[in-house]
């Protein structure tokens, strides 16, 4: 029974399985980059004929990254990482925490990187020199008397051995974040016409289930600007969050700069022109009073507090810069009505006896927002940060160990220096050379050049 468990355990702990999974995930992932994902079943028949389409749909190739078999591979991969980490942790921990002063002296003398010196200095003098040279290069020493001599040990970066665990666990953390997002979050979208508002959004699945927001989301303004080359420059929505008539938040969003509110994030994702309608801003430049209006052609719009009414009587365009021109009719109680033309997006000044009004007219849009709730994002980000840190440590740092054994020798005292490093052997050779130099320069030792 125990043996059987061992076989299963060993299977899931093995790096062979990891290689199998990685080499399986790589080519299988290609499928979904070639076969369109989440299209209508009919589309697949059109593309591949009924027989092939049938096979593809049976194997869930139309949504393969969520399919049972792809998910199973990812689960297998996670189990593999988990078991492997548990299996290897004790070994790694032993290396990190072991007492290196217990290393047998004959092993130290046989390490592949080693130097030895003979000096006429006394044991005490030699030990003093060791305690001078190593800390001088940043090696914190431990010391023990053993086997008729003194053993010193120093190490750097023992903790870097743990980085492999951090990298492997970070993958699990990222998966956990993705699961949290899947179970407790949603993706939705909504179209809000300028001047309009909504208290719900629609889930981005085939049913478009409405989800109540718990507040009102208003789009006050949407604008679309172009570069002089005609390429789009900016999509921008002025959003307002309201509840019971109170404004809770106002924010302008553009692509790449969303609004966060109440655990949700609102992204600028699309827009629609409201055919034939316009929006306008009218401002009394004397009093700075200003108001936004939705306009339908040939219908009078009133601004009661200012006793002004106006309307659009004619529209031409769009021209080569995709701009419209509007003919405006404007009236108030103070003087005769006026008519004039204004270009889309430009400010027209309307002179009246008591003040000047500034009017700007443009087409009316509905802004398309993507609304996302994803409480798992921070978990994913933490996983990503752990992974980056872990990888940097694994590949750019090393665990280096040096032992120095001082004992009675032919000429007086013998010093053995040896060590190892789990990474960057060349760099470590340089560390050792520096220590050797340190010994050579020490006057009490009086050694010209180290020899093996």
């Amino acid at each position: 029974m125990k043996n059987e468990k061992n076989i299963v355990w060993r299977f899931f702990a093995s790096v062979k399985l990891a290689l199998f999974t990685l080499f399986a995930l790589a080519p299988l992932s290609i499928i979904g980059t070639i076969i369109p994902q989440k299209a209508d079943p009919g589309r697949y028949v059109e593309l591949y004929g009924p027989n092939l389409a049938n096979i593809f749909l049976t194997l869930d190739f139309d949504d393969m990254y969520a399919s049972w078999w792809f998910t199973s591979l990812l689960v297998l991969f996670s189990i593999n990482i988990t078991i492997c980490t548990i299996e290897r942790f004790p070994h790694i921990w032993r290396v990190v925490s072991q007492d290196n002063l217990k290393t047998p002296v004959d092993r130290i003398k046989k390490m592949s990187i080693r130097r030895s010196f003979q000096t006429s200095a006394s044991m005490q003098e030699a030990e003093a020199a060791v305690q001078q040279v190593l800390p001088g290069s940043g090696w914190a020493l431990e010391k023990v008397e053993k086997d008729g001599g003194t053993l010193f040990f120093a190490q750097k970066g023992a903790w870097t051995r743990l980085a492999v665990i951090v990298v492997h666990v970070s993958i699990l953390v990222i998966f956990a974040g993705a699961l949290i997002g899947n179970f407790f979050g949603y993706k939705a979208s909504v179209m809000i016409p300028e001047g309009g508002e909504t208290d719900k959004v629609y889930q981005a699945n085939s049913e478009h289930t409405p989800i109540p927001l718990g507040f009102n989301l208003k789009c006050e303004w949407f604008s679309l600007t172009y570069y002089d080359t005609g390429a789009p420059k900016e999509y921008r929505s002025d959003l307002v969050v309201e509840q019971n008539g109170k404004t809770l938040k106002e924010q302008i969003i553009v692509v790449n700069d969303p609004m966060k509110y109440g655990g949700l994030t609102f992204y600028q994702s699309s827009y629609q022109e409201m055919n034939g309608q316009m929006t306008a801003v009218l401002k009394n430049s004397g009093s700075d009073a200003q108001q936004r209006f939705g306009i339908v052609p040939r219908r009078e719009v009133k601004w009661p507090t200012e006793e002004v009414s106006f309307g659009v009587t004619n529209v031409t365009g769009p021209d080569f810069m995709r701009k419209y021109r509007y003919k405006i009719w404007f009236k108030d109680a103070k003087a005769a009505p006026v008519e004039f033309w204004v270009n889309e997006g430009e400010v027209a000044k309307v002179q009246r006896p008591h003040t000047t009004y500034e009017l700007m007219v443009k087409p009316r849009f509905a802004t398309g927002l993507q609304v996302v709730k994803d409480p798992g994002v921070w978990t994913v980000y933490i996983g990503c940060a752990l992974q980056m840190l872990g990888l940097m440590v694994i590949f750019f740092m090393a665990h280096r160990r040096v032992w120095v054994f001082v004992e009675k020798g032919d000429k007086g005292t013998a010093i053995f220096l040896s060590g190892n490093s789990n990474k960057n052997k060349i760099g470590f050779e340089k560390d050792v050379a520096r220590l050797v130099e340190g010994f050579e320069e020490d006057d009490t030792l009086g050694i010209g050049s180290g020899k093996e």
């Binding site: 290689l19 990685l22 290609i30 692509v255 790449n256 990888l391 590949f395 750019f396």
Partner: protein, 287 residues
């Protein structure tokens, strides 16, 4: 002087450097080694200046942005990363033969950017989707990784060439052993492949992560399995497998050399193939 001329000069310098490095390899003309390194270094300096100048020019045109926003600019930056990474390897491993297998990639990238008809060198304004600081972090980290993989691929080819000639010699056939004995020891080549792959892997990981963060800032999904993302993950799987095969199962030599080559083909497809053959969010690259 405009950036375009400077890039032209860079392309020429990389061609010249490639020729010199190949000459060192074929004619064992060690003496021109310093010249080859010098030409590469000057090319890289001019390349850097040209990139800075193009950045300034984009501001003068009124839509300033880092020169990392389309296929042309990324190819040019790719070449920069390869040249820089190669010089670093040359300095670190004190070996110039690698240049014959690395600098041609830098030249090819520059030449393709300059001469391919489907690639426009014009400075264009940034569309809204690209107006983000994450663009710089994402592109820079990805391309440092890609450059390391390109060099690893070149060295992988070097390994296979040397290895098969040694096998041929062992089998008693006459090989071009004379030419190939100037190559470093197989063990050394193997070590450099591994180190380049490991270095590239770190940067590719960071590149994927910065891309995911950017996607989340822009669209609210850090991962949407779009073809570019998926292909970068495929590439990442392959190199992750290579590292484990090497580190834990002791694979080395030909197998790792082959993985370095296949991995780089995947990189090329991720970078180039996806833009032109598949569709998705990253299609900006085809501009």
């Amino acid at each position: 002087m405009n950036s375009h001329q400077l890039f032209g000069f860079t392309t020429f310098a990389y061609l010249l450097a490639s020729v010199f490095y190949v000459a060192i390899f074929i004619f064992r003309a060690q003496k021109i080694g310093v010249v080859a390194s010098l030409v590469t270094a000057v090319g890289l300096l001019v390349h850097t200046a040209a990139t800075a100048l193009r950045w300034i020019e984009s501001y003068q045109m009124g839509y300033g942005h880092a020169p990392l926003s389309n296929m042309y600019e990324s190819l040019v930056f790719f070449a920069w990363c390869i040249a820089a990474f190669y010089l670093w390897i040359e300095w670190k491993f004190k070996n110039r033969i690698i240049g014959a297998f690395a600098m041609p990639f830098a030249f090819a990238s520059m030449a393709y950017a300059s001469f391919a008809s489907e690639i426009s060198a014009e400075i264009k304004p940034l569309i809204p989707a690209l107006q983000s600081n994450w663009l710089i972090a994402h592109v820079v980290t990805c391309f440092i990784g890609y450059a390391a993989f390109a060099v690893a691929c070149g060295i992988g080819i070097m390994y296979l060439v040397k290895d098969s000639s040694e096998n041929a010699k062992k089998a008693g056939r006459k090989g071009e052993g004379g030419l190939l004995c100037t190559l470093p020891d197989l063990k050394v080549i193997d070590d450099i492949i591994y180190k380049s792959v490991a270095f590239g892997f770190v940067w590719l990981s960071v590149g994927i992560i910065t891309g995911a963060i950017w996607a989340n800032e822009a669209w609210g999904t850090y991962w949407s399995w779009d073809p570019k993302e998926t292909w970068s993950l495929i590439t990442w799987f392959i190199y992750a497998a290579a590292l484990h095969a090497r580190f834990v199962r002791g694979w080395s030599g030909r197998r790792i050399a082959w993985i370095a080559i296949v991995g780089f083909l995947c990189v090329l497809f991720t970078y180039y193939g996806v833009n032109f053959l598949l569709s998705g969010l990253h299609s900006y690259g085809s501009a």
